[in-house]
């Protein structure tokens, strides 16, 4: 997941995942996971999800179906 820029007030329905992430980062602090542990990633940017997105969207990922790909900057292993 990447760090995101703030959405406008009228931007009510777009990028809900981003807003959730912002809330998450706001509560736990940049570089820390939900339980306060450091994920080892001090910078999170929106661009960090792009590689996984391209894989899933492209012919390179054509043999991947019905999977959940966790893109969390190592949060799940800390």
């Amino acid at each position: 997941m990447g760090c995101v820029k703030r959405q406008g007030e009228r931007d009510r329905t777009i990028n809900g995942s981003d807003r959730l992430l912002q809330g998450f980062l706001g509560r736990s602090g940049a570089g820390e996971s939900a339980n306060g542990q450091n994920s080892g990633r001090s910078h999170r940017r929106a661009e960090e999800v792009v590689g996984a997105a391209i894989l899933l969207a492209s012919p390179a990922g054509a043999y991947i179906s019905g999977q959940v790909l966790l893109v969390d900057g190592a949060r799940s292993v800390t």
Partner: protein, 165 residues
């Protein structure tokens, strides 16, 4: 060079793609050669994002879509396909209003609306494109969710059921 990431003959439509991760993904797909349809619920934001990517030299169209509105979803499907003649890739990034808090304090109507906007609406979106993808025997549908749906939290109980695999 490996051609698996070449999207030069592909068209991608993305909801919630005028800022943040959605916009970054739209740009990344465009950099791989895809034609892009960007979208948000605000016309101005949609136009600005389309203009920004167009200035970078990409083939881009902007189609406004409020995914909490079923009519918008139908219109988005039609206009996205009309923009470049087809849609090969659908990215569902947008979600409706998200309430944060413990479930016993959550508004039940808000929970219903959350499920509609994050699950039903995206399935409705997929229905717009699936038949033609199947006919062409090519297509990719990606639904983005939140780490909140993977990791339980007392603050995000109502977001946990979002978007089943």
């Amino acid at each position: 060079m490996y051609k698996g990431f070449d999207l030069s003959d592909k068209v991608a439509a993305l909801t919630g793609s005028t800022a943040g991760m959605g916009f970054a993904i739209a740009r990344g797909l465009a950099q791989c050669g895809a034609k892009i349809v960007v979208s948000s619920n605000a016309q101005e934001d949609t136009d600005q994002a389309a203009h920004a990517l167009s200035k970078e030299g990409f083939d881009v169209a902007g189609v406004r879509c409020d995914i909490t509105d079923r009519r918008d979803i139908g219109q988005f499907g039609a206009e996205a396909k009309r923009a470049f003649g087809k849609v090969d890739i659908l990215f569902c990034v947008a979600v409706g209003p998200v309430s944060v808090g413990p479930v016993h304090e959550a508004d039940l109507d808000a929970l219903d609306n959350l499920l509609i906007s994050t699950v039903s609406s995206n399935l409705a979106l997929a229905r717009q494109f699936l038949p033609e993808m199947a006919e062409r025997r090519y297509g990719s549908i990606v639904m983005m969710s939140s780490i909140a749906s993977q990791r339980a939290s007392p603050l995000w109980v109502d977001t946990a059921p979002r978007r089943p695999p």
